[in-house]
């Protein structure tokens, strides 16, 4: 297995205009993220609104300019790649957007939508009817769907169309932004099963952006947890779920109540609200909400500690186990 995508210390900075009471400045929506994705594997990026997970995905897809750092795709540097060059790569790196219906033009038929990549990439000499049929079959939709329009299909079907369109050109890396948000649980499973099956058949690598940890657990090989534009924990999915090191990871795991009224949940309630990235806290940026905060956390920035197949950014990893005498 070889590395398909290697991200090193990527930063995406946006300029913000000043208001009456604030001066102009800049925010780092993604603030030094490093990770890599092996061919044919799935990597999950988890975090809450504003954690920078979508910005990171868009930077990889060339839709945002990374301010610094490096994004290597099969050894080729993507940062600062001219748009004309990047366009060629969009056969291999594709993105599935969050809003399934909104990302489909209402005036195009499903056939036009899923064969649009051939036109955009100027691929001639293909039988578009046959391609549409093949792609619909691949995502489990009947061939009659080719003649329909987006308003005639359900949200779950629109997602399948999104997958078909993304996979039209046989890509190597699929970036899926919240592929199950807003779907009912029964359909959510169908969507994830579809992605898993297509990955096995096509050898795709998938980068999946989500805030749903139970989704991540089933579909990903590795997972990265983001908070305020930084990774706070990253590692093999099994390891991270079994032994979360960072208290934020633990809080996210605990914040996913089980459908069992007697479940003995380890409640980790976070204090307050996420701080603004305009005013990042000193020391460990999570200390303002951390239930296990210590004086050192407010003063010193924790380093990125790598141990085996996982890494984290916390002065007192897994501290709940000692302080509470409980295990996660």
């Amino acid at each position: 297995m070889s590395t398909l995508l290697q991200i090193r210390d990527v930063r995406v900075r946006f300029r913000v205009r000043g208001g009456i009471f604030s001066s102009a400045g800049s925010i780092d929506a993604v603030s030094g993220v490093s990770l890599k994705i092996e061919e044919g594997t799935t990597c999950g990026i988890v975090g809450e609104s504003g954690s920078g997970k979508t910005t990171l995905a868009r930077a990889v897809a060339g839709l945002h300019h990374a301010t610094s750092g490096s994004i290597l795709y099969r050894g080729q540097e993507l940062r600062d790649l001219p748009e004309a060059e990047f366009r060629k790569l969009r056969r291999e790196i594709v993105m599935m957007f969050q809003d399934p219906i909104g990302s489909l033009s209402p005036r195009l038929s499903i056939k036009s939508l899923i064969t649009e990549p051939f036109r955009i990439q100027g691929i001639k000499g293909r039988d578009l009817d046959a391609e549409a049929k093949r792609l619909l079959a691949m995502v489990g939709l009947p061939p009659e769907f080719a003649a329909r329009y987006p308003y005639q299909i359900s949200g779950g079907q629109a997602r399948r169309v999104g997958v078909a369109r993304a996979l039209a050109l046989d890509p190597k890396l699929l970036i899926a932004d919240e592929p199950t948000a807003g779907l009912d649980v029964s359909i959510q499973g169908e969507m994830l099963n579809l992605l898993a099956r297509l990955q096995d058949e096509l050898g795709l690598a998938i980068m999946i952006i989500t805030h749903n940890l139970s989704v991540v657990r089933h579909i990903t090989d590795r997972v990265g947890i983001m908070y305020l534009g930084k990774l706070v924990e990253e590692g093999e999915t099994e390891t991270v779920f079994a032994r979360p090191q960072h208290p934020y990871t633990l809080a996210l795991l605990a914040a996913n109540p089980e459908a069992d009224p007697d479940a003995q949940l380890m409640r980790v309630e976070l204090k307050g609200e996420p701080p603004s990235i305009l005013r990042r806290p000193d020391g460990c940026e999570f200390h303002t909400r951390c239930p296990f905060v210590q004086p050192k956390c407010a003063a010193e920035v924790p380093a990125w500690e790598v141990s085996g197949e996982a890494a984290h950014r916390c002065h007192f990893p897994a501290s709940w186990a000692q302080s509470e005498g409980r295990t996660a």
Partner: protein, 323 residues
Amino acid sequence: MAVLDILDLSVSYTTPRGDLKALRGVSLSVPQRRIVGIVGESGCGKSTLISAIIRLMAPNAQIRSGSIRLKGAEILELSEAQMRALRGAEISMVFQDPMQTHNPVLTVGRQMIDIQYRDKLSKTEKRKRAAGMLALVGIPDPEARLNQYPFEFSGGMRQRIAIAMALMAKPALLIADEPTTALDATLEVQIIKRLRELQEEVGCSILFISHHLGVIAELCDEVVVMYAGEVVESGSVRDVFHNPAHPYTRALLDCDPGHIKVRTRNLPTIPGNIPDLVHLPQGCIFAGRCDKRHDACAARPDMATVNPSHHAACHLIAVRETA
């Protein structure tokens, strides 16, 4: 006596294709000081049910039959003016999207004072009460924050303000329509915990709508499971979640990825789609997707008793009793 009693309620929408029978014979009851959850997927009729209770229905919606009683009094017969007197005072509501519930051009304080228009209190007293409510939902420095505009609050805080406003008049019934869906997971936990505490403090009943089974399990005392416009199962959260009697409830619980402890690349699903509510199928509404389908399902099942407080509309329950 229950705070809310819905009996055999049927609501249809007039559409060019014919009548869309969105609710058919729905009965449920919200006892005093209890939190009742309604769970179901898109198209199950949750939203139609709420809009029928507060009677803010789409112009093409019609109540075909049934009764809705609030503290024993029929409210379907009330005039629009009488209904208006009820809304906000006896029944209040928290909506799904906290970013759009408030008026963006008025301060939070002004909005919280305005909604007390029924009370004969001085403005200072009303303001004091508003600040008290903000403190109750856990907003720090409430006196100063009354002067701020909605955009100056985060989503989680805005939802808490919406809850404070809904509880201001000490309603008998609070309807919460997916109040945590738009919020992040860690904030969702905060809101649920707060709702529980407030319910005890204010002493109201809550009808809580969600498609998130975990949230229902965490917050509610009782749960009503809806499918395609019908109640298919109801009972205490413990009974329904530990011992689901309807195949749909069981399938729904199985699908919840949080429920599956072993890593799998093949998650359970419910094959098929919800039936067309204009041309309803004969018999059991879930039969087309049910893995336990048998001959009896050609007839519509009645609500059968699993135990005195646990009911489900499935032919298999009667079979189990006689077996």
